[in-house]
């Protein structure tokens, strides 16, 4: 059954003084099934970050609606939005967004603390997550003491520790070198392997080739989509690149 339903999303920004309107999204509809790993690709300015912000409930669409487990975002009052976000959504950002004032451990525990989870349960949850991501040794370090790849893994740990329904990632490899990127995408593949639903926005064909399905958006509208099927990363990558060349944008690396 479909976990996330995106129905005819449209987003229009008014420029200053309302002189001109900027259409960021036009009638975007798709569904994500539980356990899927979906990548959304598009050139910069194509509207993919706007789309992700709406899916993250950080922004509201002008038209259309988003449903998670059949529950409409527009039906949630503003007061409860952050609680909803905390409980059901996990985020990984391009620039990690770890707080420098917390150690990695505290950064990872942050959403649990906000949910007022008992201390014993927090510690019980911490270890399996960090062990899978290989950052158990780094827990007492501060974000500025570790490498970019390690920061991103801590950010993933923070996103999954609440056991969210869906993991949203915005250009998660954007600030990483190719080796760290490959490592990170491997982690995503593992999470996908244990049944996590992941939705990732990227402009890198390499990153997208780890997904089970790739959606292409261009000028704010859904352009096409590719299913991986049984292909290897390599052949899927080639098809993505071929599709990108039709689209006339994107980045191969």
């Amino acid at each position: 059954m479909s976990l996330l339903q995106v129905k005819a999303l449209g987003k229009i920004y008014n420029t200053k003084l309302g002189m001109r309107q900027c259409v960021a999204l036009k009638n975007v509809s798709f569904e994500v099934i539980e356990g899927e790993f979906v990548a959304i690709m598009g050139a910069s300015g194509s509207g993919k970050t706007t789309l992700l912000n709406i899916l993250a409930s950080l922004d509201k669409p002008t038209t259309g609606d988003v449903l998670l487990d059949g529950k409409s975002f527009s039906s949630i009052p503003d007061r409860e939005l952050s609680e909803f976000r905390r409980k059901h959504l996990g985020f990984v950002f391009q620039d990690f967004n770890l707080l420098d004032t917390f150690s990695l451990k505290d950064n990872i525990l942050l959403p649990l603390v906000l949910m007022q989870t008992p201390l014993s349960e927090m510690e019980a949850r911490l270890l399996p997550v960090t062990r899978r991501l290989g950052i158990t040794q780094l827990l007492n370090k501060y974000p500025y003491e570790v490498s970019g790849g390690e920061k991103q893994r801590a950010a993933i740990a923070r996103a999954v520790i609440t056991d969210p329904r869906i993991l949203l990632a915005d250009e998660p490899t954007g600030a990483l070198d190719s080796k760290a990127s490959a490592g990170l995408l491997g982690q995503f593949a593992d999470l996908h392997g244990i049944g996590k639903t992941i939705l990732m926005v990227t402009h890198s064909a390499m990153a997208a080739s780890y997904a089970s399905r790739v959606l292409f958006i261009s000028d704010g509208a859904l352009f096409s989509q590719l299913y991986r099927g049984d292909e290897t990363n390599r052949t899927f990558f080639d098809r993505i690149v071929a599709n990108l060349s039709i689209l006339g944008g994107g980045d191969i690396a």
């Binding site: 993250a56 950080l58 007061r79 939005l81 952050s82 609680e83 976000r85 905390r86 409980k87 959504l89 985020f91 950002f93 967004n97 770890l98 707080l99 420098d100 004032t101 917390f102 505290d106 525990l109 942050l110 959403p111 603390v113 906000l114 007022q116 201390l119 927090m122 501060y142 500025y144 003491e145 923070r158």
Partner: protein
């Protein structure tokens, strides 16, 4: 042509950094304006012509020197503070290919604009408020304004000299700072880590021990003379302790809080405690400085206010009798009788009544003196039935009753007549409470005035630090605010924890100031005893009043600067 380029670049830098430069300029204006006013009052003709002018002038000359030192120190401090924040920008210039030499030149221009602009505004302030302050001062020192007030050229000269010196020193420091740093290091300096430092515990304990020690001595020193002697050493110890406690003690306390997991891992505490770590690491020095400036301000104002309000009591303390005539030791019995007769005659001419109360003497007349007095009344004096003025320890002591004008005329007449009739003993010295009162107005009024000037200086610097702190924190908190929201903290919660932190940071220096003042009050009262001010209630009232007024002002300033802060965070 090339010079024009640096000029324009500097001008646009000042404009672009107006959030920092405008307050700096205002502070420079206040400092230069006040300096000009003090110098102007010191050298003005109006002051020379007043009876208590000499005392006030002496005081102002001393005040001017101290003020110049403070001004130099503060300008130096603020300049360093500002230039450190712009390291990244200098690094960028280096990478864009601007020579260090050229960056230096731009900085000198910027410095010239700001200090020059500040001085111009300072002169304007002095011109606008000069006349008004002159009238207030004249009232305080109890003098009729003589000639009109104008700032003499010598005052301008001194002010320009001081600020030119400040300009030279700060410019040199800025140029050296640019030259000694390399671009990469400059660019990276913003991302300085916040690793937990080691060895904070002993330093925090040292701070605590120093503070307790200083408080103990301040509270228990009873002898006024000793209190006066140890006040400044104790002040230095308290300053050191304040810095240690703000810098190290705060971190140690936060660490202890963080170690208590059940307390730390709760939504509000979690964000607040970690946020306080960050703030104390960044701002502890600024906060300690604010605390010290506030304490100096309260001590100065309450001290000078106590002296001004208690001046009558002090004058009375120093002059138990309205007047006293010192008679040289060589004077014979006959001469003493003649002096006594003359006093009475002059008193009768001026319609004043002389009297003397033996109980006013600090020590009772010893038996011998008593005898001598009686002896010299009945055996050698013609005025047998008239009670004698007290003649004790080589001088006549007596009170004068009559109208204020008659009393003053009487004293003046005694001086004149004695100089005339008893020319053979030129050492007859007449001292009286009337002259002392006039001098007291000059001294304590001038002191209060100077105290107010210093308060303005301390306040200007404290406001500047508070303001820069808010702006810096605003930009940093903006990013933290966004991240916390993305992680699922709601808007209301974020605002609540940020408010809590801001209030903590705001109240910490004020609370420390109040605590310092609590212990300072006792030693201040003891110290003022050396000035014959025994009214401990008055001193306490002055300290309390000043503290309350200062807190209100501080709160007002906080509200204004906090508005800038929230504007940045909510953008």
């Amino acid at each position: 042509m090339r010079n024009g380029f640096y000029f324009r670049l500097a001008l646009s830098n000042v404009r672009r950094n107006k959030l920092t430069y405008v307050p700096y300029l205002v502070a420079t204006a206040v400092m230069s304006g006040v300096f000009l006013l003090i110098a102007g009052l010191l050298f003005s003709k109006g002051m020379t012509n007043t009876p208590s002018g000499d005392t006030a002038r002496m005081l102002f000359a001393f005040g001017l020197v101290v003020y110049a030192l403070f001004t130099f120190f503060f300008m130096f401090y603020i300049n360093n503070f500002l230039i450190k924040r712009r390291k990244k920008e200098f690094g960028l210039y280096g990478i864009l290919g601007l020579d260090k030499r050229h960056v230096g030149r731009v900085l000198v221009w910027e410095n010239l604009f700001v200090i020059g602009g500040g001085i111009a505004a300072g002169i304007a302030i002095a011109l606008v408020f000069g006349r008004l302050l002159f009238l207030v001062l004249m009232k305080l020192i109890h003098a009729v304004p003589g000639s009109s007030f104008s700032i003499p050229p010598v005052a301008y000269g001194l002010m320009l000299g001081l600020f030119f010196f400040v300009f030279l020193v700060t410019s040199t420091i800025n140029v050296i700072r640019v030259h000694t740093a390399n671009p990469i290091a400059l660019l990276a300096s913003e991302k300085r880590g916040e690793k937990d430092k080691k060895g904070l515990v002993p330093l925090a304990l040292l701070g605590l021990a120093l503070l307790c020690g200083a408080y103990y001595y301040a509270w228990t020193t009873e002898i006024p003379g000793i209190a006066l002697g140890i006040f400044f050493p104790l002040a230095i110890v308290v300053i050191i302790a304040t810095y240690l406690l703000f810098l190290c003690g705060s971190i140690v306390v936060l660490r202890l809080l963080r170690m208590r997991k059940s307390l730390y891992y709760r939504p509000d505490h979690f964000v607040t405690i970690s946020g306080m770590f960050h703030r104390m690491r960044q701002n502890a020095r600024g906060l300690a400085t604010i605390c010290i400036l506030s304490t100096m301000l309260v001590v100065t104002v309450s001290g000078t206010l106590s002296l001004y309000l208690g001046r009558e009591e002090m004058t009375r303390g120093m002059y138990p009798f309205d007047a006293q005539v010192y008679v040289p030791k060589s004077a014979s019995q006959e001469q003493i009788v003649a002096y006594d007769e003359a006093l009475r005659r002059i008193a009768a001419e001026h319609h004043v009544v002389l009297s003397a109360d033996e109980n006013k003497l600090v020590t009772k007349l010893p038996e011998g003196e008593q005898f001598r007095r009686n002896n010299f009344i009945w055996e050698d004096s013609a005025f047998v039935d008239v009670p004698m003025l007290i003649f004790y320890d080589g001088s006549f002591r007596f009170d004068v009753a009559g109208s204020e004008d008659d009393c003053l005329a009487f004293i003046q007449a005694v001086r004149d007549r004695y100089a005339e009739s008893f020319a053979e003993t030129p050492n007859l010295i007449v001292s009286d409470i009337y002259t002392a009162r006039e001098e007291g107005y000059g001294f304590y009024g001038g002191l209060l005035f100077l105290g107010a000037f210093f308060a303005v200086l301390f306040l200007a610097v404290a406001v500047l630090i508070l303001y820069f702190k808010q702006v810096t924190e605003g930009y940093e908190d903006k990013a933290r605010f966004d991240i916390l929201q993305q992680v699922g903290m709601d808007d209301h919660q974020v605002r609540k924890t940020i408010n809590a932190q801001v209030l903590w940071v705001f109240f910490l220096p004020l609370a420390a100031t109040a605590l310092h003042m609590l212990f300072a009050s006792k030693i201040m009262a003891r110290m003022l005893k050396t000035f014959m001010l025994y009214d401990w209630g008055l001193v306490l009232a002055c300290i309390g009043g000043t503290l309350v007024a200062f807190s209100a002002l501080y709160f007002l300033i906080y509200r204004v600067t906090a508005r800038t802060y929230y504007r940045i965070v909510r953008r």
